[in-house]
């Protein structure tokens, strides 16, 4: 479960106030809203990359508001993949486990498992500059899943892809979320993406977040 409880965020004239909504455990939540409305800010607060002015953030039953990003048990896939520029795909996917000082054999096995599952086993020795947009997003997804997070946070992961690739990756995201039983929060401004992926949808307008009733 992901829960925002009376969250507030201020940056100059831009304000988010009393943001409260919940993505139930094991469900795929999609948050829609126009560009610049504060969707990414909310996701960054959930990641621990920004501190809220007020309110709390829960992952499961745990209040993670004051926890550092690495202790929240999240997998984060940003818009452009945000690849580590000097690392190979193998190193990117193994990064979270290497930071946790897991044994080399365990890292290698996890990298192989994820690479096979995401269809990127042939890319393991490549560096980011030799990957296409779709490949980058698959690698970013593998990197986010390596440490077995309980929630998956996706910031417009499909926006830079062409339509065919977008459908293919959307199907992959849904499959991965279902198979691993993850709670996901996916940010987009595309209604089509929401229709394809969402178990539960939210709309952000004028600093408020409302649940969109399913049709």
């Amino acid at each position: 479960m992901i829960r925002f409880d009376n969250l507030a965020w201020h940056a100059g004239a831009f304000r988010l106030e009393n943001i409260s909504f919940t993505v139930p455990a094991g469900r795929y939540g999609v948050l829609m809203g126009s560009t610049g409305c504060g969707k990414t800010t909310l996701l960054e607060i959930l990641c621990g990359l920004r501190q809220p002015a007020d309110g709390h953030v829960f992952i499961g039953e745990r209040d993670v508001t004051d926890l550092p990003p690495g202790e929240r048990g999240i997998g984060y896939v940003p818009q452009d993949g945000a690849m580590f520029p000097t690392m190979t795909v193998r190193e990117q996917i193994g990064f979270a486990l290497e930071i946790r000082q897991r044994p080399a054999a365990e890292i290698a096995a996890r990298v192989k498992e994820l690479a096979d599952s995401l269809g990127i086993a042939h890319l393991l020795e490549r560096r980011p500059q030799h990957l296409s947009g779709g490949e980058r997003q698959r690698v970013a997804l593998g990197r986010a899943l390596a440490a077995k997070p309980s929630v998956l946070l996706l910031d417009e992961p499909l926006s830079a892809l062409d339509e065919e690739l977008r459908d293919e990756l959307a199907a992959l995201l849904k499959r991965v979320q279902r198979e691993l039983g993850l709670t996901a929060l996916h940010i987009t401004h595309s209604r089509r993406e929401a229709a394809q992926l969402a178990d539960v949808s939210f709309r952000m307008i004028s600093g408020r977040v409302d649940e969109v009733p399913s049709t």
Partner: protein
């Protein structure tokens, strides 16, 4: 036109002397000492400049704080002040009680340490500019992702950002090195021009010219031109603009 003018200037200097006289001049004991001291002090200065430039450049590129513009302007002082004035400021600083206290621990005035300090004072400002430019062009998002994967901010910088900034670091060190190689005014004022002691290559050119030994001055000048061109070529080869 400007490029042609530069080429004409360098060609004229190169054709002023013969290879034999050049080798003879470079064989002089004083000049060899000057070459050695220049290479040593420039390398130490480049490394010290990098140590300062990496954290300061990172801070300027990533952090937002009150007075940031003033700090940036202050860090450019060594670039805009006349080099001779920088040397004079250094000399006066080390005549104060604070300076005298430092001198009792490490003697800077008219020593090799003074040569490095004079070079560092100006070279570091150029290195900071280069590193700031480097970090400005590196996205901060990968660092954020590394933090969500379990890194502290310091680990994320060390493992993700610094490897990506390695070309910029090389460029910054090269700029500081090349700038230090040509530094004359502050060294003359602060560290002196004592032969076999604080004499570096620009000092040699000045000393040889002052006694009318134009052949030796040209030989040392050509050596400095070659060093500067080698640094430029290395930086360009790595794809970074100085």
């Amino acid at each position: 036109m400007y490029l042609l003018f530069l080429l004409a200037m360098l060609t004229a200097t190169a054709s002023y002397t013969t290879p034999g006289k050049l080798i003879e001049a470079l064989g002089k004991r004083e000049i060899q000492h000057s070459i050695g001291l220049s290479l040593l002090t420039c390398t130490v200065t480049a490394l010290l400049s990098l140590l300062l430039a990496v954290p300061v450049g990172y801070l300027l590129a990533r952090a937002r704080f009150t007075g940031k513009h003033w700090l940036e302007a202050a860090l450019d002082i060594p670039i805009v002040l006349p080099p001779m004035v920088m040397g004079l400021c250094l000399l006066i600083l080390f005549q104060t009680r604070f300076g005298q206290f430092i001198e009792r621990i490490v003697p800077f005035t008219y020593t090799v340490f003074g040569v490095v300090l004079a070079q560092f004072t100006i070279g570091a400002a150029f290195a900071v500019r280069t590193m700031r430019h480097t970090f400005d062009h590196l996205l901060s998002r990968p660092e954020d992702v590394a933090m969500t994967l379990g890194c502290t901010r310091a680990q994320a910088v060390w493992r993700v950002t610094l490897p990506a900034a390695r070309r910029g670091m090389f460029a910054a060190a090269s700029v500081a090195w090349a700038r230090s190689l040509g530094e004359f005014g502050p060294i003359l004022v602060f560290a002196g021009a004592t032969r076999m002691k604080t004499e570096v290559l620009p000092t040699t050119v000045w000393l040889e010219l002052s006694v009318g030994n134009l052949e030796a001055a040209v030989a040392v000048s050509l050596l400095m031109v070659l060093c500067a061109m080698a640094v430029l070529a290395a930086v360009k080869w790595l794809g970074e603009e100085v």
